[in-house]
């Protein structure tokens, strides 16, 4: 079973990398980009076969390691 975790900086937390990407897009002539937020996707291959349990475990992984909830929010998709 695969799980996919999306980690994003919370709203209100400055994202210097996203800002740099926004500036670069502007200098390439892509007008009208008002904001860019950069996050990460983490894919996991799990031996678990129960989607509910998998989601619970991956959520625990996010809380403990994959995201820093002081500044980041996360979502878990099980596929």
């Amino acid at each position: 079973m695969k799980a996919r975790v999306h980690v994003m900086l919370k709203n209100g937390v400055l994202d210097p990398q996203g800002e740099a990407v926004r500036h670069a897009l502007g200098s390439l002539g892509f007008d009208g980009v008002e904001g860019v937020r950069q996050g990460k996707i983490i894919e996991l291959d799990l031996t678990e076969t129960d989607p509910g349990k998998a989601k619970e475990t991956v959520t625990a992984m996010c809380e403990k390691l994959l995201a820093n909830t002081v500044i980041e929010s996360y979502s878990v998709e099980i596929a």
């Binding site: 400055l14 210097p16 740099a20």
Partner: protein, 222 residues
Amino acid sequence: MHAAVIVFPGSNCDRDMKVAFENVGAKVSMVWHKDTEMPAGVDVIGVPGGFSFGDYLRCGAIAANSPICQSVKAHADKGGYVLGICNGFQVLTETGLLPGVLLRNSGLKYVCKALDLKVETSNSAYTSGYNAGTTITIPIAHHDGNYYADDDTLARLNDEDRVAFRYVENPNGSQQDIAGILSENRRVLGMMPHPERMAEETHGNTEGATLFTSLVGSLETA
């Protein structure tokens, strides 16, 4: 005084920290990240600078979950002293021993230079040898030193006099120019600048050595 310096894969200021502790008369044990216990009688744990685990995932995140960090937390929980410098500060925020987090520098660049810091409080074992309000010159060398905490946390840090150092000129976007903070019991200090790199005459000045001298002095009179 007995100091332990933690060594992670990718630590690169561990030996500098050892020398700084030894120069003020401390006995130093180097402790590997896979160890689960501190050597007996450790008074202070130093978490050094570097790029532990290649800064993968987030700076300090993997190190904060390494086996030895349970002992670092236990040491702090029973009132022990912990000093985290640079990557060590990042590790301490990731363990939750200090509030907030260190984000990517707002200018996106790695910044390596000596700069002026204002000592905000002399009320800690680390800063008792400085006069509050004094300016000292200490180097920084980091890519992720932009201190971030929510407004409530910042207000608490200020109200409780827990900001140890502020930058005179903010090099990285840190909120309120914060360069170093103390835990609630004032025994855990995390700071991005490197006092161990300004600790001998050959370094340019010895203003960083005062931190180590103060710590030893406070512990020996305690």
